[in-house]
């Protein structure tokens, strides 16, 4: 009798946990619960920004600490005719548009980008899925490019538009000015001492080293300074953020 009761209770404990797990899937359907849960991102960002140095540098590594092989992820090749034509011309006709809230909109070639002061860094790339790879990146600081374009005081975010398409529209993502002006935030045209290959985002990708891999936009075509993310995509600042509920601030 006693044992039967205990067995029932044991099942109850396991069942209770299963119920809690199942309940999570039901309560998140409530918009209020969703709002609270999604506030976690803002709390983490707020705490990290408030408690620590906003210009703290991501760890950098020695050449012998690099991954022997750096896997690709996301789009491996944009595959459009326009991209194929640029690639066939070794990106000589490619231009990076810098526009939006800037005094002097720019159209920069790879050699224009090479004329800026360069920064090279060996950093760790952390995919949201959990893996990490260490590689070397080189290019101008985004801060220098934004200054050259005469960034307006009204600008608060920088939006990146890419050559690859997701869901029929170009991939896009955005960062705020704390990360845009961070000393390690660069527009990388070289990886591991070679021109960026197609799998890793040729001819240019963003490196924003204190955030996860999906923020490292590849195949950059356009950089737009904006006051608000409301007019970008569905308003949450990026393709994954708009469509798959990923955090916009991917520092966690």
């Amino acid at each position: 009798m006693m044992w039967r009761r205990r067995q029932l209770l044991a099942r109850g404990a396991v069942g209770g946990s299963a119920l809690l797990l199942g309940a999570c899937d039901r309560v998140i359907q409530q918009p209020e619960v969703r709002t609270i849960l999604f506030k976690g991102e803002d709390i983490h960002r707020g705490l990290q920004r408030a408690l620590f140095d906003r210009d703290a540098l991501a760890p950098e590594f020695r050449p012998d600490q690099m991954s022997p092989r750096f896997r690709t992820n996301g789009t491996r090749d944009p595959g459009t005719d326009a991209y194929a034509a640029l690639r066939a011309g070794r990106f000589a006709d490619w231009r990076l548009t810098v526009d939006g809230l800037v005094a002097r909109p720019l159209a920069l070639s790879l050699s224009d980008l090479g004329a800026f002061p360069q920064r090279a860094q060996i950093t760790r790339h952390d995919c949201v899925e959990g893996w990490s790879a260490i590689g070397k990146w080189q290019g101008p600081r985004l801060a220098d490019v934004l200054r050259a374009a005469g960034l307006s005081d009204r600008a608060r975010y920088v939006v990146f538009t890419c050559a690859d398409s997701y869901g029929g529209a170009p991939y896009y993502d955005s960062i705020d000015l704390v990360d845009a002006f961070h000393p390690q935030t660069i527009l990388a045209w070289a990886m591991n001492d070679r021109f960026l290959d197609v799998g890793h985002g040729a001819p240019l990708r963003l490196r924003v080293e204190r955030q996860l891999g999906y923020k490292q936009a590849k195949y950059l075509m356009r950089i737009t300074a904006v006051e608000s993310l409301a007019g970008v995509g569905k308003g949450r600042g990026g393709y994954w953020e708009d469509n798959v509920d990923y955090d916009w601030w991917a520092g966690i």
């Binding site: 205990r6 209770l9 044991a10 404990a13 946990s17 299963a18 809690l20 797990l21 199942g22 999570c24 899937d25 998140i28 609270i36 849960l37 999604f38 506030k39 976690g40 991102e41 709390i43 983490h44 990290q48 408690l51 620590f52 140095d53 703290a56 540098l57 991501a58 760890p59 590594f61 600490q65 690099m66 991954s67 022997p68 092989r69 750096f70 896997r71 760790r124 952390d126 995919c127 949201v128 899925e129 959990g130 893996w131 990490s132 790879a133 260490i134 080293e209 204190r210 955030q211 996860l212 994954w240 798959v244 509920d245 990923y246 955090d247 991917a250 520092g251 966690i252």
Partner: protein, 230 residues
């Protein structure tokens, strides 16, 4: 009934216990969902598909994960929110328990507690399903103390710090985290192992609660009142 009842758990302990219980369950469920995104564990600074994995984890089934159907973004939302609950409730509990002397009074391991003969006697008592010293029924037995100390001062801090080491933002703010654990992928492996330790503790803990008498144990953790077994 009719037996003596004692006030076993203070309000702070009870409050933290339940906050922590909910946080741990949600964190394990959502963490297993995150694990399904890349079920390989590595040692060192880097680790991806071409690198050597020391463990290839199973795909955790829908009844164990939050959400049930694979959704990395939503698993992360649950995980990162409840990570805050876990960390700050532990911090609060630790501060209060130092002030109200719960740690010093109830969890301190004395030399005589750790004498091999005493531990062996306590193991035998557990096997006989006797969990309380009739001389001092309100005190934790030594196996209880050891497991609570391991959870509160080792496993929970370990799971929190290794979790912080997974944040690229925290790695810039606190680079010593990476030195402490030997790189981000080592921290990720240790994070998983600490979770496994907490899961094992939870199973043993629930089993012992059932064996010791669910009603009495549950009441003591809700109201604070615990009936002394005869």
């Amino acid at each position: 009934m009719g037996a003596t009842a004692i006030r076993r758990h203070r309000l702070a302990t009870r409050l933290w216990h339940w906050l922590n219980a909910v946080a741990v369950i949600v964190l394990i469920g959502s963490g297993l969902g995150i694990s399904n995104a890349h079920p390989r564990l590595y040692w060192g600074r880097y680790g991806a598909n071409f690198d050597h994995a020391w463990a290839q984890l199973p795909r955790f089934p829908a009844w164990l994960t939050i959400p049930a159907n694979y959704n990395l973004a939503i698993s992360r939302r649950w995980h990162l929110f409840f990570a805050l609950v876990l960390a700050f409730s532990l911090l609060g509990y630790m501060v209060v328990s130092l002030i109200n002397r719960h740690f010093q009074r109830d969890l301190r391991l004395r030399r005589r507690d750790l004498a091999p003969a005493h531990i062996a006697a306590d193991v035998r008592a557990h096997l006989d399903l006797r969990f309380h010293d009739p001389e001092a029924p309100g005190e934790y037995n030594v196996l209880q103390k050891l497991s609570y100390v391991a959870v509160i001062f080792v496993l929970l801090p370990l799971v929190i710090l290794t979790g912080l080491a997974l944040s690229p933002g925290m790695d810039a703010a606190w680079p010593w985290l990476l030195d402490l654990f030997g790189g981000r992928q080592s921290a990720r492996s240790l994070h998983f192992l600490a979770m496994a330790g907490l899961a094992l503790f939870t199973v043993v803990h629930l089993t012992l609660v059932i064996l010791a008498g669910v009603g009495n144990e549950l009441r003591s953790m809700i109201t604070g009142w615990w009936r002394v077994p005869e």
